[in-house]
């Protein structure tokens, strides 16, 4: 017993002060949304779009970036001959509507729409949100970084948000993966077992668009092909802070409103 107590003292208190205090520091190489300074683009160059694995970057009319497809990889930035692409350090990426993840490529700032639920739903849920997680065909990294929110550092339960074992106990589903054809029925049945009103949260590029597996015959290109989605959280996988930010905005626990991704100073 004494050893347990000594270990407890040695390990210290670890739960972060966020959101009352500052968010945890992200690594300096963290890749948020790609930012493209189009002013320097030579005519006819499409090196970035060619390098993009998922077609997230499109140069045709209108040129845009789909954060729902983006893997936040280094490829477009590496491919750009002008070094005009940088990844912002902004982790706030969640949006309520799919189209809000599609942003103009030549923007100076991206606005991802606010995420809070209606007052009626907020009132219904009260101070708790119970979620059933369904993993449907991804690589298990989104699950891993969702699970991290349950560790002492993040302590998700202090926000009244918990992952529950049964859909019967849940207010909604948090789905990861592109929804493999082999999981479509199980996902549908799990959804059916949740009572109304129920939320669906799509976490990660796969769950939003199919991610690296877009248009494979074996997947459904994301959750929205099967279920109505209430919140999209981009990333491959999204950083735990991105997931937490999305959940807190959804439940109205963070002051909502447009959050900005701005181009870093040149």
């Amino acid at each position: 017993m004494i050893k347990v107590i000594l270990a407890r003292l040695q390990q210290k208190h670890r739960t972060m002060a966020y959101p009352a205090g500052a968010p945890p520091a992200l690594p300096d190489r963290f890749r948020g949304a790609p930012m493209i300074a189009t002013a320097t683009c030579p005519a006819g160059c499409h090196a970035c779009a060619d390098a993009c694995p998922t077609g997230a970057l499109a140069l045709n009319d209108p040129a845009h970036l789909d954060l729902g497809k983006c893997l936040f990889c280094p490829e477009c930035a590496n491919a750009c001959p002008q070094h005009a692409i940088t990844h912002s350090g902004n982790y706030q990426l969640a949006a309520r509507r799919r189209q809000d993840l599609i942003v103009a490529r030549d923007r100076q700032a991206v606005e991802v729409a606010g995420a809070a639920l209606s007052d009626r739903l907020k009132k219904l849920l009260g101070r708790s949100l119970q979620l059933r997680q369904v993993s449907a065909g991804g690589c298990a990294a989104c699950e891993a970084d969702t699970n991290v929110l349950n560790t002492v550092g993040w302590d998700l339960s202090r926000f009244g948000i918990q992952f529950v074992a049964s859909p019967r106990h849940a207010d909604g589903l948090l789905v990861t993966g592109p929804v493999s054809k082999n999981m479509a029925l199980a996902l549908q049945k799990t959804y059916d077992a949740v009572s109304d009103p129920r939320l669906v949260i799509a976490v990660g590029a796969c769950a939003i668009s199919g991610g690296p597996y877009i248009d494979h015959a074996q997947v459904s290109n994301g959750v929205a092909a099967i279920l109505p989605v209430d919140l999209y959280i981009p990333g491959c996988p999204p950083h735990p802070l991105t997931i937490l930010d999305g959940l807190l905005r959804l439940t109205g626990r963070l002051a909502d409103g447009p959050h900005h991704h701005t181009l870093p100073a040149p």
Binding site: C73, S135, G138, N182, P237
Partner: protein
């Protein structure tokens, strides 16, 4: 070298060879070469089918690993019909490979003792080994399961959706009260068709495929892929890049091993170690993020080297972070070994005897916990492991305790290894350019991921594109080992048996 292996071509890890030099044997000789190799303590690292040049024919390829001689052997056979005699009754470790060949190419292994689909997906050739109609679509997990009759026997079915935040799979237990007689595991729910999509590559999607074959083993799979590419392009990554890859691979091992020890502690209700290790796992992931911005090493391993270099300040930061996490890990983990109530649950639970592990072809920590000395880092080393040796850990008892304690031994070795590498990082380019890929070649690359041997085999066509790209995740070998450990165990011990393996569903289902 045994006589039989001389029928096969000899090659080493990460070496490209001309496909014309891969012997195409008559089926009987092919079969015999596998049996003789396994009798001489070689392992089947890969056995798979590929389209043959002649329409209507299929080639089977085998890769045997001879760990004692640090050699690989490869060979092929060509088949015209739609069936072949199953080797499984004489060589159990090919059981799942044969089912996979059947599922992907519609070739039936006649005499296979448990002939079922692997992933419940349709065949690549339009020929179905089970003669199932095209409609209605296949449903995963549907079909016969092994059953034990008699009134006192009951069946417990779990999944695909589990209680925790984990991947989907279906488990069927045949029980007598609390006692499990048999467990059968049906997978395939995570199947997303990656091997099929790799054909014709590399394309811009190939790297993301590799990084997500099994998301917690990104570094292991991507390093293995890059070694395939470098062999085909005839380029040599720098010693610096090799070292950084090794550091990343050991960080991946640390994060997962520490996380697993926490999860095991959590499953027996010992919360101190569970919560400390849960946090520490994140600290190791954050060290990887310091290298490349991603906690899972996305973007780090690239053909020709690594995508991110480190300077002196970053090395100092990494060392500091490693020291702090190492110190806390020792306290958190030693608490577990000193807690009798936790140890009582781990000891003797889920034993996997050495002979069974060898017969099933188990790899990685699960094999070493059963006393099998196999570790790619020592037996078939590549990259930094050719120059810096990492001690191999072995336990003998093969139970949950052994699989847990082995993790702790490996954690300590990985920490020492990273410390040494950070202290003496060689100079050189982080990344060198990669040429076009050699046509008509075969490459085998292996690495010891945290779950065990990651094996990739590439065959290129006349244009240097992938005609076939085979991925064998360690979980493909090891799921049968987990099922075995449940025999005669209490069903309540399933969670700790499962966590003690912590296998990948997506790595199996690809």
């Amino acid at each position: 070298m045994s006589d039989a292996s001389s029928e096969l071509a000899m090659l080493s890890n990460g070496q490209a060879m001309n496909q014309a030099d891969v012997p195409i044997l008559p089926f009987a000789a092919f079969e015999q070469a596998i049996l003789d190799g396994v009798a001489a303590r070689q392992r089947v690292s890969a056995l798979f089918a590929a389209a043959a040049p002649q329409p209507g024919t299929t080639r089977l390829y085998v890769v045997l690993a001879d760990d004692e001689q640090n050699l690989l052997f490869a060979g092929a056979t060509e088949m015209a019909g739609d069936e072949f005699p199953s080797l499984t009754p004489r060589c159990p470790q090919v059981h799942l490979f044969e089912r996979e060949i059947a599922e992907q190419f519609g070739l039936r292994p006649v005499g296979h003792p448990w002939f079922k689909p692997v992933r419940y997906c349709s065949s690549w050739t339009g020929r179905d080994a089970w003669s199932r109609p095209a409609q209605p679509p296949l449903l995963p997990g549907v079909g016969d399961f092994y059953r034990i009759g008699g009134e006192p026997i009951h069946e417990v079915a779990v999944g695909p959706v589990h209680a925790g935040v984990i991947e989907p799979g279906h488990f069927r237990f045949q029980c007598h009260g609390e006692q499990v007689f048999h467990l059968e595991i049906a997978l395939g729910y995570q199947h997303r068709g990656v091997e099929e999509a790799l054909i014709g590559g590399p394309t811009p999607r190939t790297l993301p495929y590799m990084e997500t074959l099994s998301g917690d083993a990104t570094v292991a799979h991507t390093t293995t892929y890059c070694q395939v590419i470098e062999a085909l392009a005839g380029c040599q990554e720098s010693a610096r890049a090799q070292t950084l890859r090794g550091i990343a691979l050991e960080l991946e091992r640390l994060a997962n091993h520490v996380g697993d020890l926490g999860a095991l502690a959590g499953d027996v209700g010992f919360l101190p170690t569970a919560s400390y290790c849960g946090r520490l796992r994140g600290d190791f992931l954050n060290l990887t993020a310091q290298l490349c911005g991603s906690r899972f090493g996305r973007g780090l391993i690239r053909p020709g080297g690594v995508g991110f270099d480190v300077d002196a300040a970053r090395i100092a930061d990494l060392s500091r972070g490693l020291d702090a996490a190492a110190k806390d890990t020792a306290v958190a983990v030693n608490l577990l070994w000193n807690t009798q109530s936790a140890m009582a649950r781990f000891e003797d639970a889920g034993p996997l005897p050495r002979a069974v592990a060898a017969e099933l072809g188990i790899v990685g920590p699960a094999a070493r916990a059963s006393g099998l000395e196999r570790d790619v880092r020592r037996d078939q080393p590549s990259g930094i492991y050719c120059f810096s040796h990492i001690p191999i850990s072995i336990c003998e008892s093969g139970d949950v305790f052994a699989r847990a304690y082995l993790r702790w031994l490996e954690i300590q070795h990985s920490i020492d290894f990273i410390r040494d590498q950070l202290r003496a990082l060689p100079a050189g380019a982080a990344r060198v350019p990669v040429n076009t890929l050699a046509p008509n070649s075969l490459v085998v690359a292996l690495n010891e991921g945290w779950r065990g041997e990651v094996c990739h085999v590439a065959l290129t066509d006349a244009q240097g594109r992938f005609a076939r790209y085979k991925v064998v995740d360690p979980s493909f070998h090891n799921w049968a080992g987990l099922a075995y450990t449940l025999r005669d165990q209490e069903i309540s011990d399933f969670p700790i048996c499962n966590k003690s393996f912590n296998l990948s569903y997506c790595g199996h289902d690809l």
